[in-house]
């Protein structure tokens, strides 16, 4: 689950990382009140869960209330990469001397947390990584050992940091690791970590946050977090999350239900060569009669649907139970859309029989391509 910038900054503050004075506004009136308390100039930052916000025009400085009203009005009517702006963070404007980058993520291949720092913080950090790798330093941690101040200092010394700045930045980096670890983060990032012209707050200020929490760990985090489902803008995707499947809304008109992400993606790739998938739906290993009933309900909610393609395997999943859910849905709602199902593995014969009793077109060969040919015969071209 991705957190909004303001939520991440609250978390940073809770572990003692220096952060700016700020408030969250849902209206221009709120923003004016917050700015009045902080004092001008203030920075207005659109709260959206997508990268590249600054370059897209979602961050502006206001020096007077009049200017704030104008900017706030514009930002609240703004969409960034298709996402509406519902909240603004209003914060004090930092007196910037330099900008650093600090980020921690998990490196998938080595299976280790990797701490990345750079002297060139800001929106262009990925470009810096490509063009000036000497300005980036990284350290792979032993996950059972953790990350200690001496390691942070060694890392930061490689960027040329020294004296008080070295120890202060090392302290922040270790606190960031604490966030990474305690919040089961997939990423915890401060970009930029501002070095101020004055000594205020020790001379450092984390003016931005990126935190993504591992969905598999949400239930064990000892901190009040928002509900995952509230974060999902698309109503169909939200319903998918509620019933416990992965659903991605797509532009086409062929519904897909698959057991397993890889099989789902392959199904989409094969269908996508000739037809347009309406969605990606992956059940995971928890198929029951009830779950597939709800999957049918969800897939059919998509308007202009022309057919449904079911691709499931009986390994961990009792697909015969799943088939009962599909057929029960067909009967309850008099579904007349063509439905093609390929179902193999444990209980396959029983599954085929149940599907056929509901009028589903069953394909018994292994290749998904053959089942998609059948689908194509039934629905024709795009």
């Amino acid at each position: 689950m991705r957190l909004y910038e303001y939520e991440g900054i609250d978390i940073f503050e809770s572990v003692g990382i220096p952060v700016p004075r700020r408030g969250v506004a849902e209206t221009t009136e709120d923003a004016l009140i917050i700015a009045g308390e902080i004092g001008y100039p203030v920075v207005l930052k659109a709260q959206v869960l997508v990268g590249g916000r600054g370059l897209a025009g979602g961050v502006k400085t206001a020096t007077t209330p009049e200017e704030l009203e104008e900017i706030s009005g514009t930002l609240f009517n703004f969409e960034i990469k298709g996402l509406p702006v519902r909240k603004l963070m209003v914060c004090e404007k930092a007196d910037i001397l330099r900008e650093l980058y600090m980020g921690i993520t998990v490196d998938g291949f080595s299976g280790k947390p990797v701490v990345v720092v750079s002297t060139e913080g800001g929106a262009h950090i990925e470009e810096t990584a490509r063009t000036s790798p000497d300005k980036i330093a990284s350290f792979y941690c032993d996950p059972t050992f953790g990350f200690y101040p001496f390691q942070a200092r060694m890392l930061l010394r490689r960027l040329g940091l020294s004296e008080r700045l070295l120890t202060f930045c090392a302290d922040v980096l270790v606190r960031l690791y604490r966030v990474f670890s305690q919040f089961d983060a997939l990423i915890a990032e401060i970009n930029p970590m501002v070095i101020l012209k004055t000594g205020y707050q020790g001379g450092l200020l984390a003016v931005d946050s990126v935190i993504e929490i591992d969905n598999s760990a949400l239930s064990r985090i000892q901190y009040p977090l928002p509900q995952m489902t509230e974060r999902i803008e698309n109503p169909l995707e939200r319903k998918g999350r509620e019933i416990g499947v992965t659903y991605v809304d797509l532009g086409g008109d062929i519904g897909i239900i698959a057991s397993g992400a890889g099989l789902g993606m392959a199904t989409m790739d094969i269908i996508g060569q000739r037809l347009r998938p309406a969605n990606f739906l992956e059940t995971g290993g928890g198929i029951t009669e009830e779950l597939l009933y709800k999957c049918m309900e969800l897939v059919i909610m998509k308007v202009n649907l022309r057919a449904i393609f079911i691709n499931i395997y009986g390994g961990i999943n009792p697909i015969h139970e799943g088939a009962r859910g599909v057929v029960r849905y067909i009967r309850d709602h008099n579904v007349t859309l063509p439905i093609v199902a390929k179902a193999l593995g444990n209980h396959q014969e029983e599954t085929w029989e149940i599907f056929r009793s509901g009028g589903v077109h069953v394909v018994t060969e292994a290749p998904t391509e053959i089942a998609v040919d059948r689908l194509f015969e039934l629905v024709g071209k795009k």
Binding site: G111, I187, L250, N346, Q348
Partner: protein, 290 residues
């Protein structure tokens, strides 16, 4: 000798008293696997499928001579069970459950390396050696004995490839689910190494997916150390891009992770790229693989 599972493999099932654990134990036994017992803390002394259930892995090892374990343990308890199993001296662990926190997986991985445990998963269908046995959830009816190795990130796609091959009477030497998570316990190149060294395997199929850099690293291994023919299918060509936030991942990975990056790397290493799973049939004909 087949890889991972052979005549000496004695399997315990952790979480054997659960619904999935007991059902899958029945399927594993039916397939001919030497399952010798199970573990569920607090349920010691019971039996499942006529097999003894123990409170601890240590006891199970002492009483049954078990040397391999397959997990059907609920995700929040897997880290603890993994440490326990490695400490009891078991050297092959298959972690079937999905939704295990990544921060647990990285600890398990570090511990497995330290204890020289070969572990697969999480989110893996396990291992199946046709005709010999299976650890995990693969549906036995789709597999047949032969000389093609399959390694897959996706469970159900490994069944798809085995099913396509078996329909054409092309059998498999072993099918290994490496696990679908972003961090896995044994990386793809290390599994490839087992197939390269296996005298019962003539060729290998890698079934990958968009994301991560396992396939790119596998390409490095193929270029430098693989003599057997390799074919690869990478799923996710039409997958919508995620709305990426933060930069740390991109800085660490560089350009790796896309279907294009994986296919290019594998092609350059000499592997054949399959654009669609069914093309595997032509590949076997072209390379005279039976």
């Amino acid at each position: 000798m087949s890889i991972l599972i052979d005549d000496k493999t004695r399997v315990i099932v952790q979480g054997i008293t659960g619904k999935i654990g007991s059902t899958q134990t029945r399927w594993m036994l039916k397939y001919g696997t030497t399952v010798v017992g199970g573990v569920t803390p607090g349920k010691g002394g019971n039996t499942v499928e006529d097999l003894p259930v123990f409170d601890s892995v240590e006891e199970a090892v002492q009483e049954t001579g078990a040397n391999a374990s397959v997990f059907f343990v609920p995700a929040p308890f897997v880290l603890d069970a993994f440490y326990e199993t490695a400490d009891a001296g078991i050297k092959l662990i298959v972690v079937v459950p999905e939704h295990i926190p990544v921060h647990d997986v990285i600890k398990m991985r570090a511990y497995a390396l330290e204890k020289e445990v070969l572990a697969l998963g999480p989110t893996t269908p396990g291992i199946l050696v046709p005709g010999k046995g299976k650890m995990g959830i693969m549906p036995g009816s789709l597999f047949s004995p032969g000389r093609v190795g399959i390694i897959s990130r996706s469970g159900t796609l490994s069944y798809e490839f085995a099913g396509i091959l078996s329909e054409k009477d092309i059998g498999q030497s072993a099918v290994v689910g490496m696990g679908a998570d972003s961090v896995i316990l044994t990386n793809l190149p290390d599994i490839l190494k087992l197939f390269e060294a296996d005298d019962e395997t003539d060729a290998v199929i890698i079934v990958g997916e968009v994301g991560g850099m396992q396939e790119e690293k596998a390409a490095e291994f193929i270029a430098n150390g693989m003599t057997k023919p390799v074919a690869s299918y990478i799923a996710g060509r039409f997958s919508p891009e995620g709305k990426c936030m933060g930069h740390a991942g991109a800085i660490v990975r560089g350009s790796a992770g896309t279907v294009e990056s994986k296919c290019e790397a594998l092609k350059a290493s000499g592997a054949e790229i399959l654009k669609s799973p069914i093309e595997v049939i032509d590949w076997t004909i072209k390379n005279d693989i039976h």
